[in-house]
């Protein structure tokens, strides 16, 4: 693949207290690629994504976004990033439009372009009719959409989504998956999930984490190679051995 690398992480390690939650995770993401981060609950997916987004500083390792080292030039790097954490960061007392404009301003969208960015983000996330609603009155699914809209409003080169389809109904899940695929055309997307067919449907590559370590990294086809993705996942996580100890 010849498209440029937009996000690269080298040997990320992070401790919570004495416990090593993420150890030596390295990954690369190219423009136009959708990468799925798979793993059991507590495998270190969210911690990894938070380090990639600059919300957590890794205890060791390096994150580069659009060639900017996040530790050296956090502001330049973060300007190329859009991040949806597990819990969408929404100000419940704000209206959808006001909130999205605030998010756009935080990410240095030029005032002249605000209206265009707002309209496009709302249209992509199916929020066109909700601009005047208070966020606290939105349903869970729409709050999730507002969270995604917040992450893409500045049209970043890298979009990081932590479990974007959790708590949505089937139609909304389909819409969000379409959106992620659409985003994958113009930018790079990395998303975490524990739903296997989500990865199979929308991702080009997958990384499987187990107890903070990468136990598989490769194309979806490789996962499919032996049998289907689900049994590959189960086989891989069982093989890495520590499962008995965990349960």
């Amino acid at each position: 693949m010849s498209s440029p690398i937009t996000l690269s992480a080298q040997q990320l390690t992070r401790f919570h207290g004495k416990r090593r939650v993420v150890s030596d995770v390295s990954l690369e993401l190219r423009r136009g690629e959708v990468l799925g981060l798979l793993g059991h609950n507590g495998a270190g997916k969210s911690t990894t994504l938070q380090m990639l987004a600059g919300a957590l500083t890794p205890d060791s390792g390096l994150v580069e976004v659009c060639d900017f080292d996040l530790a050296q030039h956090p502001e330049l790097g973060k300007a190329c990033l859009g991040f949806l954490p597990e819990q969408p960061p929404l100000y419940r007392d704000m209206r959808v439009d006001d909130f999205l404009i605030f998010a756009a301003r935080l990410h240095r969208v030029a005032p002249a372009k605000l209206a265009d960015h707002l309209a496009l983000a709302k249209q992509r996330c199916g929020l066109t009719d909700c601009g005047n609603k208070l966020i606290s009155t939105l349903s869970k699914g729409y709050q999730q959409r507002a969270g995604i809209a917040q992450a893409i409003i500045h049209q970043p080169a890298v979009v990081i989504l932590d479990e974007p389809t959790v708590g949505l109904d089937p139609t909304q899940i389909r819409d969000i998956r379409n959106l992620i695929r659409e985003l994958g055309n113009s930018s790079s997307v990395i998303l975490s999930t524990h739903i296997l067919n989500e990865v199979e449907n929308i991702c080009d590559r997958a990384i499987i984490l187990q107890e903070g370590k990468v136990i598989f990294s490769g194309g979806i086809d490789e996962l499919r190679h032996h049998s289907d993705v689900e049994s590959s996942f189960i086989r891989l996580t069982a093989m890495s051995g520590n499962e008995g100890q965990k349960q």
């Binding site: 919300a55 957590l56 330049l76 819990q87 704000m94 006001d98 301003r105 935080l106 917040q150």
Partner: protein, 243 residues
């Protein structure tokens, strides 16, 4: 960027019904005290008229009024500052700011400026109340202005202190009580010996309240505000690296 954050804070302060309740209650108490002081003043006015250098309406009414405002603000400001960072952490919206391309300095200054804008409105409303005395008597404009400056600086100091406590914890109530306890402690220092008194914001406010504008008092407030803002910025900058 600081302006964006300040505007957002200012708006969301006024979006909360509790803010309006607090402001209404504050105005009510101030108006009550103001009228009571006028009443007292009118009762002793006949005796004052016979004195050689009698205190005027400004020092008898406007100065105590700003003293009451200063005390009320000491108790109210922690309730506003607790929202600024601690509540954002609890509601998990803080991550929006930490992953945005803005510096810790901009976050802290923006939040501080947003709250200060609202506090300025409160101080201005109180000053307007004092200014209505001009309808009936001759006012000492200088004294009114030095009172305005004093309350404003005091409010800004409490806001900076509260902001620091807000950054220390993710429990808004803990942030509010912490800030209140320290403000109260500093206020109590005012009753100590001269050297201890110098540490109390209230003591410096009292100089301004009687019309004594000295660079020592102004520098004290500037230093107080700068120290707590710097501590807050430092805390936020280092928290992501720390445990």
């Amino acid at each position: 960027m600081i302006r964006t954050l300040a505007l957002k804070e200012f708006r969301s302060l006024f979006a909360a019904p509790s803010t309006w309740w607090m402001l209404a209650l504050l105005q009510f108490i101030l108006a009550w005290f103001f009228l009571a002081r006028i009443d007292d003043y009118l009762q002793v006015q006949a005796q004052l008229a016979q004195m050689g250098n009698a205190p005027g309406a400004t020092i008898a009414i406007a100065s105590p009024l700003s003293g009451v405002l200063a005390l009320m603000l000491m108790m109210l400001i922690p309730l506003f500052t607790m929202r600024l960072i601690a509540e954002e952490r609890r509601n998990q919206t803080w991550i929006l700011l930490t992953t945005a391309p803005i510096s810790a300095t901009a976050i802290v200054l923006g939040k501080f400026a947003g709250l200060l804008a609202m506090l300025t409105l409160i101080v201005a409303a109180c000053t307007l109340m004092s200014a209505t005395l001009a309808l009936g008597t001759h006012l000492d404009g200088g004294l009114i202005l030095s009172n305005l400056l004093g309350v404003w600086l005091l409010a800004a100091s409490y806001a900076a202190l509260g902001l620091y406590f807000s950054a220390l914890t993710r429990q808004p109530i803990v942030a509010a009580f912490g800030a209140l306890a320290v403000s109260f402690g500093l206020w109590m220092l005012d009753m100590g010996s001269d050297r201890v008194r110098a540490l109390s914001p209230n003591a410096h406010f009292q100089n301004l309240s009687v019309g004594l504008v000295s660079s020592a008092d102004i520098s004290y407030f500037a230093l107080f505000i700068a120290v707590f803002l710097a501590l807050t910025i430092r805390l936020i900058r280092h928290e992501r690296g720390g445990r």
